[in-house]
Every structure is written in C-alpha cells, then in structure tokens.
Amino acid sequence: MNILVCLSAVPDTTTKITFTDNDTKFNTDGVQFIINPYDELALTKALEITEAKGGEVTVISVGEASIDPVIRKALAIGAHKAIRIDTAAKDGMHVAQSIKQAIEGQSFDLILTGRESIDYNGGQVAGLLSELMDMSLVNVVTSIEVEGDSVTAIRDIDGGRETVSASLPCVLSAQKELCEPRIPNMRGIMQARTKPLEVIAPAGDYTKTDYVGYELPPAKEGVKLIDAANAEELIDLLRSEKKLI
C-alpha cells in the first residue's frame, strides 16, 4: 500500500497578513510556515494505514526551498520520503499538473490531500489532480477504511453524512475528524535528517491565473452595547445609522 500525500505549506494561523508590490503579493517576511492542518490529517491517516497494512508514505509539495523545514516536519512525523517540485505554487492547476508530471511512472494506491489549503482556500487541487490522473475522487472525508482494492470513506454532506466506496487507486481529501494529528518526537526529528527529500525541477509552467490585487477585510468596528430595556434605540440605530432595516 503506497500512499502519496500532497502537502501545502501555509502561514501559521496567528500570522499577521501584509502585502508587498503594490498589494499584488503576499509578504512572506517573518512568516512562520506550517503544514496545512488538513494535510497533517491526511499524512497521519496515511501513516495509520501503512502501519496497519505495510507500504510507504511519500509526501509531495510544490514550492521553493523555503518550505523545506515544513517538509522535514512531515518526515519527522513519519513520512518515508519526500519530493519537492521546485517552483512557486502559483495556482491549483499549476500544483496539480506539477504533481502529475512528477509522479509519472510511479504507482500509488491512494493519493491524499487536504480538503483545502487554509491560506488561499482554493479547494481545487484534489479535484484537478484526480481528473488529470484519471482517478475517482472522494472529497472531504472524515473516515477512510481500505479493504482489498477498494476504499470506503465517509464524507460530510449538507445536513448529514454519506458513505462512499471507490476502487483503488483514487484521490481522497481530508476533513477535520479524520484522525488525531501526531506530534513529531525527537527520534523522528533525528531520523528525518537522513530521509530522502528529492528536489525536482518543474516540468513546465501550468499557471492559468494571474494575481491582480489583494485587500484586507475592513477592520472590525467597536461594539456598541444597548440596554435590553432600550430596544427602540437599537431599532433606530439599525434603521438610521446602519440602514439595515
């Protein structure tokens, strides 16, 4: 059972977001990058599966050398080897195409991704990759059971859950609750030093989009407390000041 986990490096959730180049670029100065939390779940699940059934977990990430520490962390958590495609991950298509080209000729029984990256929240890579690989996709799953050459997954749907089975190989994207993420231990961190991290050149530029500009959401306004007895004042303000009613 060989599993590929697609790993996106995202800014730590406490990062203060700023932009450069006339608000057309995210300013990565001083930003601490972490494994996209959904991808951490995908990785942990992949390890649980290979620990039970044998096989190897490979992590793959599209990005420049600055994300190597994030990949090392995945190796410290337990991935067996890693591939980095040495190009800035400019959009979902570029990521999916780059991954497809990089794994040409290798066979994986499962490809796991996160449901979305928590920075750009595209939620596209899993879908694009499954199409490019001609594999089926089960999106946003909270449980994965592999049995023989098929997989049964539970996925969140509006107001409920759905149980889906698919034949291997296929692409699955991880949702919260899939498993409990693992904290790397020092032995793992030591072993990660010598695990292979292969850096390969991108096969091409598949970018389909251009970034035109960014802006921050408007700053939150202060809260105005109105006494419960003064419901009229509230209605007044909603009407005259906020023009909501």
Partner: protein, 404 residues
C-alpha cells in the same frame, strides 16, 4: 487523590495559548530542527500537561501516566546517543526541551531532568557496556523511571560528608544509609545512589526496586513541586550485586558531573517558567481595566513588564551561549553555575512581579503564576543552592575556597 485525567483534558483543552517572547530574535540563532523540537514539546505540553497540571498540584498528585509519554516524545535523555535509546541531539535541543517542559511545570521538567541528566547520564558516562544496554533503552522509553540519591538528612550542600556506605560481601556489597529529598523516589524502578566504600571513597550504585531492605517513603506536605513525587531512599542492609556499581568513576566527581548536566537543563527550564508568567501577565495587563483604562497603561505596570522582558532576554542569551559551549565540550562548572543561578533568580523575580500584576487573581489556580512561583522555590535550592553557586563562582574568581 485519584484524578480523572481524561475528563480534565476534555474540560480544559483550549486553555493554553502560550507563545514565547523573542525580543532579540534569538530564534535566528536556532536551527529549523531546534524550532521543530521546541514546537513538538510545546504541543505535547499544551495537550497533555496544561489541562491537568493545576489539579495535579492542588491534589499533590504525580501524573505517572506521562512517564511513557515523556519517553515517547524524546524528553528522557535527548543528549544521550541514539544507540542507547537517547535522542542523539545537541545541548541546545536539550535545553529547549527543558524550557518547554518547565513552561508547563517545574515538576514535570524535574522528572525529565532527573531521568536524563542524573540517571541516564551517569550510567552512560560511567557505566559498563552491560549496564548501558540493560538500563538506558528502558529509561529512554519511560518503561523505567529512575531517581538520583545524593542528598541525605544530615548532608545537603556538603555531600562529601555523606554517611551512606557499603561493605564488601563477596560478589555483592551491603548498602546502608538514607537519602532524602529525592525526586521520583516513590515511583522509581531504579535509583543511582552515591555511597562510600570501606575506604571512604564515593561510588555510584544502581539499586533496583525489589531489592530486599530498599524502601522509598514519600515526602508529604510540600508547598512546592507538588506534581513531582519526592521521597526518601532508605537502605537497610541492601545486598547490591557488584555488577551494579558504576565502574568508571570514583569520588565526588561522579555526582558533580551529573549535576553539571542537570544544572544546565535548569538554566533553560527556568526561562520557560518565567516566559509563562510573563505571557500571562502581559495578557492580563491588556485586558484588566481599573480607573477606566487597562492596567497595562499605567507606568508602574509597564515598568514591571519591561523589566521582566529584559531579564528574560538576558537569560535567553546566557542559556544559548552556555549551550553552544556545552556543544563544543567547553562549558566549565562555574559558567553553568552562573547561568543556573541567574536564570532561576530572574524566573522567581518574574513570577513574583507577574503575580502582583494579576492582583488577587495572581494567587488563583486559574492562572499558572503562583504554581510557578512556589515551584521555583525548590528549583533555587536543588542542584546547588543559590548560595552555593556564589561559592563556586567566588572560588573561580579568587582561587580561594569559601565553602569551609
């Protein structure tokens, strides 16, 4: 008292939002691997320690279930080579791990310090190959818990006068005496005990639980390090096989070498406790309003916070520098004494000032400060009292011995 750790964890799983201050960008002096180690230990502390630690201290309960977990994350002997189950990491990694553990609680750090520096280290450094193979992997994994017996009821700062002794008895020795104030003792599987032979020379012996005549009564009524178990080691004609004597050291140099390694860990650990107090105080000072504005807006509180950050930053630089000297094998006992003494002192000071910033809330178990403060009263006394480190430094400076 029996504590329900799982329900404590479920109730309190979101309480800890700790981040460390890094005013002088000391993180830039660390490698990515160092930061990952710090992250790992911090994550473990947030998940396993923060939710339960107040209850453990209130009830004076040692959370024994964390021993294998400490082994699993690698906090037992990160500086011991990996062939014996250690982490094989450098001294900065070891220091950062101790910082994060003590950020959680000095008692948890003590458990790890004793295991790594006072039990595994002497066996690694002075033990036979058989002793290393037999004990180190089990200590590293947390299958075994160890303790270190040097202090006695009548001999603390002056261990050279110890009374514990052993006599030759064929392929065994007969050990007699008592050790006091011994961390981990009530739960330990083995103890590294320092005692004198018939010629009055100090040797290290590995005493195993179950040996006849060996008991480990618990010390009660502590107001400090309440989540760490402390007790005595009592030897009443204990027959210890000669193969349990550490072959490669004799004299006080043995225990003192171990203390160097543990003291080094404490100089980092204390920073962790100080950082936790500072983090708590800054947050509180911004949120608490009196006289119509946040108390952090008053100069008197700003003075406290500014001084705390200054002292923490200085302590970080001391610890980092001693760590790089340790890595090069160049750190002297006096250099380590300076860092241990200074960093524990500033931690205690930061704890006291933070406690005041929180006003009445400062004494509540809802915040970590009073617990850290009480803990640090032990930390400033064990591993060489605050005074003894001055004597070590004084002798280094003047060449004159002021101990006696």
């Amino acid at each position: 008292m029996e504590l329900d750790f799982e329900s404590l964890k479920a109730q309190n799983n979101q309480v800890d939002d700790f981040t460390h201050p890094d005013f002088y960008e000391i993180d830039n002096l660390l490698t990515e691997e160092h930061k990952l180690i710090r992250y790992s230990v911090r994550s473990w502390v947030k998940k396993e320690i923060s939710p339960i630690i107040d209850a453990c201290c209130q009830e004076a309960t040692f959370p024994q279930h964390i021993v294998p977990q400490l082994g699993d994350i690698g906090c037992f002997g990160p500086q011991i080579p990996s062939e014996y189950g250690g982490g094989g990491l450098d001294y900065i990694s070891y220091g950062l791990a101790m910082q994060e553990l003590e950020r959680g609680d000095s008692g948890i750090r003590s458990t790890a310090s004793v295991q790594g520096s006072l039990v595994m280290y002497p066996i690694f450094k002075f033990g036979s190959e058989e002793q290393k193979q037999k004990y180190l992997p089990k200590l590293a994994s947390g299958e075994f818990l160890g303790s270190f017996g040097l202090t006695e009821p009548n001999h603390g700062s002056d261990p050279g006068s110890m009374e514990s002794n052993f006599k030759d008895d064929g392929d065994h020795v007969i050990l007699n005496g008592a050790k006091m104030w011994i961390s981990n003792s009530p739960f330990c599987d083995i103890a590294v005990v320092w005692a004198k032979n018939e010629a009055g020379i100090v040797h290290g012996l590995i005493v195993e639980r179950g040996m006849e005549g060996f008991t480990t009564p618990t010390t009660h009524k502590k107001w400090s390090l309440r989540a760490s178990a402390t007790g005595e080691l009592v030897f009443d004609n204990v027959r210890v096989p000669k193969e349990n004597i550490l072959p490669n050291v004799k004299g006080l140099k043995g225990p003192l070498t171990c203390l160097n390694s543990a003291r080094y860990g404490i100089c980092w650990g204390a920073i962790g406790a100080a950082m936790d107090c500072y983090h708590t105080a800054v947050k509180y000072a911004k949120e608490r309003t009196q006289f119509g504005k946040p108390i952090g807006g008053f100069q008197l509180q700003q003075k406290k916070l500014s001084e705390m950050l200054t002292e923490i930053t200085k302590a970080q630089l001391l610890a980092w520098r001693v760590g790089t000297l340790m890595n090069d094998g160049k750190a002297t006992p006096a250099q380590i004494s300076m860092a241990k003494r200074n960093n524990v002192e500033i931690a205690l000071h930061v704890a006291r000032e933070s406690r005041q910033i929180l006003g009445g809330m400062g004494i509540s178990g809802d915040y970590p400060i009073m617990r850290h403060m009480a803990n640090l009263e032990s930390v400033i006394t064990y591993e060489g009292t605050h005074d003894i480190h001055l004597l070590i430094l004084g002798m280094e400076i003047t060449g004159e011995n002021a101990f006696v």
